[in-house]
Amino acid sequence: MNDVSMSPDRPALALQLHDVDVTFGGVRALQSVSLDVHVGGIHAVIGPNGAGKTTFFNAVSGMVRISGGEVLLNGERIDGWAANRIAAAGMARTFQNLAVFSNLTVRQNLLLGRHVQTRAGWFSAGMALPSARREAARQIEHVERVAHLVDLGHLLDSGGGDLSYGDRKRVEIGRALCMEPSVLLLDEPVAGMNSTETSRMAKLMRTIRDEMDITVLLVEHDMGMVMRLADHVTVLDFGRVVASGPPAAVQEDPKVIEAYLGVKGASDLLAGH
């Protein structure tokens, strides 16, 4: 792992939440959630169903307004920003309920991720200017590199709507990687995948962390995967942080076991069996 905390020009914290609240009507989906995500690791967010994990992602990516608190991305306050501005500032995400554009091809889905990185801008891209054409060629090249990284090289011309579940998950990750984010939020990336696909995904996540210099936030129910991959684990329950720390410590925390009580075989689940 790169020792990014040593570089003087980057803050050591990729994402910070201070007392963040999110309410839906009467439901308090997040209640004074505070959290520091260090640069350059895999930070897992776990918790039972309905704990507020997806809401946490929605809040930091600008899809849902927070009703209190602060969110900082690389040291800069981003709460209240429009989602497109947060994306441009270096945050990318995938969705628990898939959000691949079904009326676009895989290539076009990935190209959309390049928007935030397109320097020629929207206007000149349509003209036949040589600079715009070079730019377009560069973007296509980038998209193809990412497609191979996420095992989609052979599907670039397929329609987003014609893909299998696992392929769609990979399109989302590829699209997010195309944005060259500093922080990547993955909402249950291996849900519904078979074991081969799951281990490939785990390998990909390590590559993302170690070689691409991206801080990964991971929501995942597969506890074995969380315990093996994560450098840090935060546990949410009923919209509150009940524990946060290294995987081994969190696993033994009585509050965590309590949060999972009622879930059959809670301690087995947490042990990752």
């Binding site: 969705f95 009326n103 676009l104 991720g113 935030v116 929207w122 891209a125 349509g126």
Partner: protein
């Protein structure tokens, strides 16, 4: 045979104009989810501005008409759409109906019962191509529409805009996360709609039409079924739908005497008959992905 050819050319020419109008509907719908029912009134006001200035210079008058409609559309976009951000598209759609009433009241006050000649350089000139006699204005309308449509599609396909528009149409909540600015898409859509409407408006009021009167906005509303037939979220569907309706309308008019059994004025309702037939088999229109009832 010559009759049929003549009718076909006229029909395609009218259809291409309907296509331009329908394209404006569709782009705004794709970018914002709004059905803009003030589109016809914008077209009328733009064409009206052209008639007022045509004596100076026709081309400049057209540019001024386009500028007027674009300025109005930008105002609508800013006041109605932006300030309503977060409200349902349906609420704003209903407000465009209100806006249409306001604009039409103003237009009626200005135009009254008059028919204002377009003042175009083509007048009633006829050209003969083989055995077919056709008004020059119809040919120019056809050529201009085709050039405008071609330019639009080159831009839409070559630039990243087309992909962004499609993404925003499918998932308005997700598209911004790729850095897409919905506000910019919206502005561009309303500007384009204004430009397309006035170009169509000018040619709808040239020969054989005698000029601009308040009914021009009703003519424009006939392009709405064209957009529905093609699919409300399909740009090429708008053009196909427009060509279908224009051709059908002119053919029905031309062969009216053979269609007496369907009642006089059948060509006026034909559009809607076509729309119902298409929706019966394809609820999202020929090329659309969203059913009208989901709007």
């Amino acid at each position: 045979m010559a009759d049929l050819l003549q009718l076909l050319v006229s029909g395609l020419s009218l259809g291409a104009l309907y296509g331009l109008i329908a394209l404006g509907f569709v782009i705004v719908f794709k970018a914002t989810g709004i059905l803009n029912f003030s589109h016809g009134a914008m077209l009328l006001l733009g064409a009206y501005v052209v008639t007022r200035l045509a004596h100076v210079n026709f081309l400049l008058a057209v540019l001024a008409g386009i500028a007027a409609a674009v300025a109005l559309n930008l105002l609508v976009e800013r006041v109605l759409v932006r300030s309503m951000a977060g409200r349902s598209a349906l609420a704003i759609t209903v407000m465009t109906i209100g806006l249409d009433v306001v604009l039409m009241t103003y237009a009626r006050g200005e135009i009254n019962t008059r028919v204002l000649p377009m003042g175009d350089p083509w007048g009633a000139t006829m050209v003969s191509i083989g055995a077919v006699d056709i008004p020059l204005s119809r040919l120019v309308a056809l050529v201009v529409s085709l050039v405008v449509v071609a330019a639009f599609f080159v831009w839409f396909k070559r630039s990243s805009w087309g992909v962004a528009f499609r993404a925003a149409t499918e998932r308005r909540d997700v598209a911004p996360l790729m850095g897409i600015r919905l506000n910019r898409l919206s502005v561009v859509a309303w500007v384009l709609a204004g430009v397309l409407a006035v170009i169509a408006g000018v040619f709808l009021a040239t020969f054989p039409s005698s000029g601009v009167n308040v009914d021009l906005s009703h003519v424009a509303l006939r392009a709405f079924p064209a957009a529905v037939i093609g699919g409300l979220d399909s740009t090429h569907g708008a053009i196909v739908g427009g060509l279908m309706i224009g051709t059908a309308e002119i053919l029905a008019q031309g062969y009216q005497s053979h269609l007496e059994f369907l009642g006089g004025g059948f060509h006026e309702v034909l559009t809607y008959v076509l729309m119902v037939i298409v929706l019966w088999f394809k609820p999202a229109g020929l090329f659309g992905t969203q059913e009208v009832n989901r709007v």
